[in-house]
């Protein structure tokens, strides 16, 4: 029997669960991540902690460490750390629908080994029978005057530094924006000993409260996430940190770095209530207004996206069916790129995707349980989106000279002028004339904001790349999903071995890191031959 080969890009909660389930279903797995260790942003930890030392309040860490060791030591798993997927090459005819004819997923182009953004990484290609995309999301941040000052960072940056390096961004920190992630970040900072002055949720009580309090029995299904949030809220209470609804930071000020912020009360539509401004001295400001899914690879594969309603804090997302299949044959998606619902929901999606991608039996009872759990996760994602929308009045914070595109320092006034001029309003033309989105980050930060401003200023739809507008116009389309050096691009890629060989036995150059794999030490959870079930019953977090 030829084993199916499943490639999983992204080793966060969703990707790791996908790898685990695909192995359980009997497939050969190649797990790819740009970091040195699996875990993604959620299970980020200092290097010595990942060696097994206990560390603070990290939800589900033990279950994660067990799963990580099960996957990395599995004889059918090839783990490619410090590896970037920089492109996906469609195998179908260029003019036909994606993947037409072959049913095979796109070819994966990799840059293997070496430190981040180093030179001399090895270019490789990988052809698998199925591809699971689990690339996750990053913070979305709305612009405001002064947001480019040093000391202003995303909520995710503060979380990454405290989780990954035990580094706190300051001692008089304000956390602002919208969504429950702000609570988690504030709790991490407090736990690490930082001083947090206040946490500002821009949403007002009617929106936030009504949506969190409605149908509480549904929350019981997301016990893991709900308990985590309750723990974060308790940390705020313990440290007497105020959590204010309907207030946000409308300006950051300082000489060369942030020194104070101006906060103001907001109406339900996020327009500022005049006269409610307060100045708060700070040494750091952490902001986040929801998440942007990382869509470079789904778009490169040709996956259909579904748009989210105007004002949604995140999106668009990858369209998936009941088994996490995307619109492209052989390509599956799991985790935050299909909807933002947090790590527990991402794990369940990953398990369904991995099991199905590996050709696992559709009739196993565990899959039914997982699908139900996945549906509950989707309901949770909808609840989150309803409770924390982006208010339509936020552009009221902007001044003519407020930087919108951080890379090019394109300001709001320039964008208004471009979008008000019919000759310049088309996305590509406006991009070239204003340079917004053309800098090093390639619109990863400002793309959704510029698209939204363009729509609001009457220059046309937001252009997320859904049916209404061809995907070519989406701000998320990037031919190079990750930066690579010209020398690396010029080098001929080394293909990984045939499907019957694992790459490190193929005789070709070994990817750095492959040799670092620990040999199987204990009994592996799944017998290499007998397919078991997509979940490990000893891991209760799987069910939530």
């Amino acid at each position: 029997m030829t084993r199916r080969h499943v490639a999983v890009t992204g080793a966060g909660p969703a990707g790791l669960a996908a790898a685990c389930a695909a192995l359980a279903a009997g497939a050969r797995v190649t797990l790819i991540d740009s970091a040195e260790q699996p875990g993604g942003q959620y299970h980020r930890m200092p290097p010595e902690a990942s060696a097994g030392h206990p560390g603070g309040l990290r939800h589900g860490r033990d279950a994660f460490l067990r799963r990580r060791s099960r996957v990395l030591t599995h004889p059918r798993c090839t783990w490619l750390p410090e590896t970037s997927v920089w492109a996906l090459e469609r195998t179908g005819p260029a003019d036909g629908p994606p993947g037409a004819g072959s049913g095979a997923p796109p070819r994966v182009h990799l840059l293997c080994g070496g430190p981040a953004d180093g030179s001399g990484r090895t270019r490789r290609t990988l052809d698998a029978d199925a591809l699971v995309l689990a690339t996750g999301a990053h913070d979305r941040v709305l612009p405001f005057p002064g947001w480019e000052l040093p000391g202003v960072c995303t909520a995710g940056a503060a979380q990454a530094l405290v989780k990954g390096e035990r580094l706190v961004v300051g001692d008089r920190v304000v956390v602002a924006g919208t969504g429950p992630f702000l609570l988690a970040v504030a709790a991490s900072l407090l736990e690490a000993g930082a001083g947090v002055r206040e946490v500002l949720e821009a949403g007002t009580f009617p929106t936030v409260g009504r949506n969190w309090l409605s149908r509480p029995w549904e929350l019981a299904a997301q016990l893991g996430k709900t308990a985590e949030l309750a723990g974060s809220a308790a940390a705020l209470v313990r440290h007497r940190v105020p959590y204010r609804l309907g207030r946000t930071v409308v300006e950051a000020r300082g000489d060369g770095r942030v020194e104070e912020v101006v906060t103001a009360r907001l109406r339900p539509d996020w327009s500022v209530v005049d006269g409610t401004e307060r100045t708060v001295p700070v040494d750091a400001l952490c902001v986040g207004h929801g998440f942007s899914p990382r869509l470079e690879l789904p778009l490169a594969a040709g996956c259909a996206l579904r748009d989210t309603p105007a004002g949604a804090g995140a999106g668009p997302f990858v369209v998936v069916d009941g088994e996490q299949r995307t619109s492209v044959p052989g390509v599956f998606a799991a985790g935050e790129i299909t909807g933002v619902a947090g790590a527990p929901a991402a794990r369940v999606e990953g398990a369904v995707a991995g099991w199905t991608a590996a050709g696992g039996d559709h009739a196993v009872p565990a899959l039914r349980v997982l699908r139900r759990s996945r549906d509950e996760g989707r309901a949770f994602a909808r609840r989150l989106a309803r409770a924390h929308p982006i208010g339509a009045g936020w552009p009221g914070w902007l001044r003519q000279d407020t930087v919108v595109c951080r890379c090019e320092e394109t300001d709001y006034g320039t964008l208004c002028a471009a979008f008000g001029d019919a000759a310049q309003a088309a996305p590509r033309v406006a991009r070239l004339s204003t340079r917004a989105g053309l800098g090093p980050c390639q619109a990863r930060v400002c793309g959704p904001t510029v698209a939204e401003l363009r729509a609001r200023l009457g220059a046309g739809p937001a252009g997320h790349g859904t049916a209404a507008e061809p995907p070519g116009h989406t701000p998320h389309r990037r031919p190079l999903a990750q930066p690579l050096r010209l020398g690396e691009l010029a080098a001929a890629p080394v293909p990984f071995g045939s499907p019957e060989e694992t790459p490190d036995r193929s005789g070709g150059p070994k990817p750095p890191g492959a040799a670092d794999r620990t040999t199987p030490s204990g009994p592996v959870a799944e017998s290499p031959e007998a397919p078991s079930s997509p979940t490990d019953p000893s891991d209760p977090t799987d069910q939530r």
């Binding site: 603070g56 953004d117 030179s119 990053h138 480019e148 530094l161 060369g256 890379c407 320092e409």
Partner: protein
């Protein structure tokens, strides 16, 4: 106060951590193994090390390799994301900037891939 690093748990005095030293524009900066280049810089009290087109100071923004605000040159490799790059003992880090011609900073014919020069600051 500025950003600060806490010692590893169970090693309140920092014992058991492996120290490392990098140079930043020629000056030595101390850190410990496991820190990113951005982490070493932040823990050393530097919140900014790059400049935007207008010359405005920039530091860490997204922290996870998305915004490219923290770019530095490491051992001669330009445009390295400091928040992703694990610092190694002896690394030679040079700050780099993206200032428009005429907005201060040294001029350079070395244009970045996106058209604007992104050049070293201390190389003169």
């Amino acid at each position: 106060m500025s950003p600060r690093r806490l010692p590893a748990r169970g090693t309140a005095d920092g014992r058991g951590e492996r120290p490392l030293r990098i140079t930043v524009d020629g000056r030595p900066v101390d850190g410990v193994a496991g820190q990113t280049v951005a982490g070493v810089l932040l823990a050393a009290g530097r919140t900014a090390w790059r400049r935007g087109p207008s010359g405005a100071a920039r530091g860490v923004f997204c922290g996870i390799g998305v915004c490219f605000d923290c770019l530095v040159t490491v051992n001669g490799d330009r445009d390295v994301r400091a928040c992703l790059r694990r610092a190694a003992d002896g690394d030679e880090v040079r700050t780099q900037s993206r200032t428009r011609p005429g907005t201060g900073g040294s001029r350079s014919a070395d244009a970045g891939a996106d058209g604007y020069p992104e050049h070293g600051e201390a190389t003169g």
